[in-house]
C-alpha cells in the first residue's frame, strides 16, 4: 500500500497541478502506479478491482482503439473488455468513440468526450471508472479534469507507458492482461463476499430500443443506485 497518497480521488480543486509536476513518473515495465506511487501490478490490480466493486456506478470508458475493430488486436482487446465488464456488478460501458469536441453537447448517458469528461462523470454519478483504448494524450486530459472536478476513482489500463494522473495505472495492457485483471476482479469480489452472475452491461441508451424483455438498472433512473450491491449482498436480476 502506498504510504503517501499523492493522487487520490478529487475533487482536487479549480486547477490542480498535474501529477508529473508533483514528481510522479510513469512506471517502468512490469510496474504499476497506485495513488502516484510505483508499486507491483498485482497490488495495483487488487486496489483497482476493489474500487470498481465497492464504489458507486462503476463504468468502463472504452476508447477508439477498442471500439473500432481496426485490427485483430483491437478486436481481441474489445472482447476482453466485455469479459471484464461482465464480472463487475452493475457495471456500465460508456464509450469514447472519438476525441473532438461535439456540438452542441454530448449526451452524457450515451458517451464520454475528452473535452468535457465531467459531463458524463457527474451526470451519471460515476465514482469508479476504467479508461481503456484511449490514446494517452486524451486519456491524460480526461484524467486530470476528472481528478480536478469529481470524486471519481480513475483506473487507466494503458497499452503504452501508463498515466500519472490516474489513481491506478497499469502499463503495457493488452487483451491477456485485461483478462488477468478480470480474474483479479473475480477473486476480490469473492473475498468481499459480493455475489454476482456474470452478465453484460446494458446497451447504450441512445440506441433505439429493440429489446424489451429485460430491463437494466438504468431504467430506474436516479434510483438506480438502490440496486448497487452492498458487501455481502446477493444480487439478483434487477427486474
Amino acid at each position: 500500500m502506498a504510504e503517501k497518497k499523492l493522487i487520490t480521488p478529487g475533487p482536487a480543486g479549480y486547477i490542480p497541478k498535474p501529477a508529473a509536476f508533483l514528481g510522479v513518473d510513469t512506471p517502468p515495465p512490469g510496474k504499476a502506479l497506485l495513488y502516484g506511487e510505483m508499486i507491483d501490478e498485482e497490488t495495483a490490480m487488487r486496489e483497482a478491482a476493489k474500487a470498481m466493486l465497492t464504489r458507486r456506478n462503476p463504468t468502463i470508458f472504452p476508447g477508439p482503439l477498442v471500439l473500432w475493430g481496426w485490427n485483430s488486436g483491437a478486436i481481441e482487446k474489445a472482447q476482453a473488455v466485455l469479459e471484464l465488464a461482465k464480472e463487475i456488478p452493475n457495471c456500465r460501458i460508456i464509450p469514447m468513440p472519438d476525441y473532438r469536441p461535439k456540438y452542441p453537447k454530448i449526451d452524457p448517458e450515451a458517451e464520454i468526450n475528452p473535452n468535457h469528461p465531467n459531463l458524463t462523470i457527474l451526470h451519471n454519478k460515476i465514482e469508479a471508472c476504467i479508461f481503456v483504448g484511449v490514446h494517452c494524450h486524451y486519456a491524460n486530459l480526461s484524467l486530470r479534469m476528472i481528478r480536478a472536478g469529481t470524486n471519481c476513482f480513475t483506473i487507466a489500463l494503458c497499452a503504452e507507458m501508463g498515466h500519472e494522473d490516474a489513481m491506478v495505472s497499469l502499463r503495457d495492457v493488452h487483451a491477456g492482461d485485461i483478462l488477468r485483471f478480470r480474474d483479479v476482479v473475480v477473486e476480490v469480489r469473492r473475498e468481499l463476499g459480493i455475489e454476482w452472475e456474470p452478465k453484460l452491461p446494458p446497451e447504450n441508451p441512445s440506441l433505439p430500443k429493440e429489446e424489451w424483455t429485460s430491463v437494466s438498472p438504468l431504467d430506474f433512473g436516479e434510483y438506480a443506485y438502490l440496486l448497487m450491491p452492498r458487501r455481502g449482498e446477493i444480487v439478483e436480476e434487477t427486474e
Binding site: 508529473a20 473500432w68 476525441y99 456540438y103 452542441p104 473535452n115 494524450h137 479534469m145 472536478g149 500519472e164
Partner: protein
C-alpha cells in the same frame, strides 16, 4: 548510398563502435540525419543553417532521406514539417536567428499539436541591425513553449543530440519536438573531432501508431478525429481543456528527463564535482568554460564546470545538488539577456552566488580570459597582466 541495416537506438547511440572523424558542425548534423532514417527534410535557406540543409539535400539525392524540398519561407517550412509528422513521417528541419523567429509561430505550436520532430537551430544574431554572426539570444524565445531544447557544445554533441533527438522525441510519453541548438559558425562551420558509429546502420523507422495521439493517415481510429480542436468557452468543452492540454505538454517535457538521461547520459555534465567555484554554461560557452576550468586547474585553482545539455527540461535538481556548496557560480553566455543565468538563479538557493556573466553578444567571441578574470575575482587572486586589449 551505403546499404543500411536497422539497429535499435540504444545500440546505435550507446554501443556501436565509433570512428573518429574531423568534421564541421554542419557535417555532424548531416551525419546524424544519415543514420536517423528520416523520411522528409524541409527547409528554407538562411545563413548559417544553409550548409547543413545542403548536406541533407545531398542525403536525399543519395537516397538516405526519402523526400526533401526547399520551402517558400520559414513559416511554410515549419508548417509543412507539422503536416508531414501528422502524416506519420519522421521529419527534420533547421533554421537560424531571424528565420527561427519567422517560423516561430509554427514551431511553438508543435508541442501543442504533439509533433515529434527534430529541429536544428544554428544560432545567429536576431536582427536588427542585420548580422549573421553567432549570438544565442534566440534560444530564449524557445524556452516557454514546451519544446525540448538541447544545447550542443561542439560537433560531437551536435551529432549525438541530433541522433538521440529522434527516439527521445518519439517516445510515447514524450512526443514533443526536440530542438538541437548550437552556435552558428563557431560550431557549424568549424571542424572538430566527432566519433561516429558506422554509416551502414540506421535507426528503426518511425512507428506513428506507437503514439499518444493518432497520426492523421486514415489508417487508425477514430475517423472523426481532430487531434487539436479549436478550443473556446462552450457547453461542449470544459473551461479546463486548454489548461490540462498545456499541462500535458509540460508533463511530457518532464517525462523527457529520463530519456535524455538514458540516451545522453544526463541533463548536465560535471567536471570536478568538488570544486569551490563553478562555471555553469551551455553550448559554446561550455566549451570556453571547459578551457577555463582546465587552465584554472593548471594554476592550482579549485574550479569546476557544469555543462547544461538540456535547457528544457531544465536540470533543477541536478544543479541544486552539484552547486550546493559552491562559493560562486559563474555563468558565461553568448547573449545580452542572460537567459541561462536567470534559469540558474531561479533554481539555486542563495542566488547572490551567481555571477551574471561574462556575456558577449552580437557575434563576438567569448574569450576564455574573460572567464578567468571572473575566477580570479571571486577567488581573490591578484594577477598582474600585460595583455593588451
Amino acid at each position: 548510398m551505403v546499404e543500411q541495416k536497422v539497429v535499435e537506438p540504444e545500440y546505435l547511440l550507446l554501443e556501436a563502435p565509433r570512428e573518429r572523424k574531423f568534421i564541421t558542425g554542419s557535417q555532424a548534423f548531416a551525419e546524424a540525419i544519415k543514420r536517423a532514417n528520416v523520411d522528409i527534410a524541409i527547409a528554407y535557406p538562411i545563413t548559417p543553417q544553409s550548409e547543413t540543409m545542403h548536406l541533407v539535400g545531398d542525403l536525399w539525392a543519395q537516397g538516405y532521406v526519402k523526400d526533401y524540398y526547399r520551402a517558400e519561407e520559414e513559416y511554410g517550412a515549419m508548417s509543412a514539417i507539422a503536416g508531414a509528422v501528422r502524416g506519420g513521417a519522421r521529419a527534420f528541419s533547421a533554421t537560424s536567428g531571424p528565420g527561427l523567429l519567422r517560423g516561430l509561430e509554427a514551431i511553438v505550436s508543435w508541442p501543442g499539436h504533439r509533433i515529434p520532430a527534430v529541429l536544428g537551430v544554428m544560432t545567429r544574431v536576431v536582427n536588427a541591425p542585420l548580422s549573421i554572426q553567432p549570438d544565442n539570444v534566440e534560444i530564449a524565445y524557445l524556452l516557454h513553449s514546451g519544446l525540448i531544447v538541447l544545447h550542443a557544445e561542439n560537433q560531437q554533441d551536435v551529432f549525438d543530440f541530433t541522433l538521440a533527438g529522434f527516439p527521445i522525441s518519439e517516445k510515447v510519453d514524450v512526443y514533443l519536438p526536440v530542438v538541437v541548438a548550437t552556435e552558428g559558425f563557431f560550431v557549424t562551420h568549424a571542424k572538430g573531432y566527432v566519433n561516429l558509429p558506422p554509416e551502414d546502420m540506421k535507426l528503426p523507422p518511425r512507428d506513428p501508431y506507437k503514439a499518444p495521439v493518432p497520426p492523421t493517415d486514415c489508417e487508425i481510429p477514430p475517423a472523426r478525429i481532430q487531434r487539436d480542436a479549436p478550443v473556446q468557452k462552450s457547453n461542449f468543452m470544459s473551461y479546463l481543456i486548454h489548461a490540462v492540454w498545456q499541462q500535458e505538454v509540460w508533463s511530457a517535457n518532464e517525462r523527457a528527463r529520463k530519456w535524455i538521461k538514458h540516451y545522453l547520459g544526463g541533463l548536465i555534465e560535471v567536471v570536478n564535482p568538488e570544486a569551490e567555484v563553478f562555471i555553469v554554461a551551455s553550448g559554446c560557452a561550455a566549451a570556453q568554460g571547459r578551457e577555463a576550468q582546465r587552465y584554472a586547474e593548471m594554476e592550482g585553482l579549485n574550479v569546476g564546470l557544469v555543462k547544461v545539455k538540456s535547457i528544457r527540461p531544465f536540470p533543477k535538481q541536478e544543479l541544486r545538488e552539484v552547486l550546493k556548496k559552491a562559493k560562486a557560480i559563474i555563468v558565461p553566455e553568448h547573449n545580452i539577456v542572460g537567459w541561462l543565468c536567470k534559469e540558474v538563479k531561479a533554481v539555486v538557493p542563495d542566488g547572490d552566488r551567481v555571477v551574471e556573466g561574462p556575456r558577449v553578444y552580437g557575434g563576438m567571441t567569448l574569450p576564455v580570459e574573460l572567464i578567468m578574470d571572473e575566477i580570479y575575482r571571486v577567488l581573490g587572486v591578484k594577477k598582474e597582466k600585460k595583455t593588451l586589449v
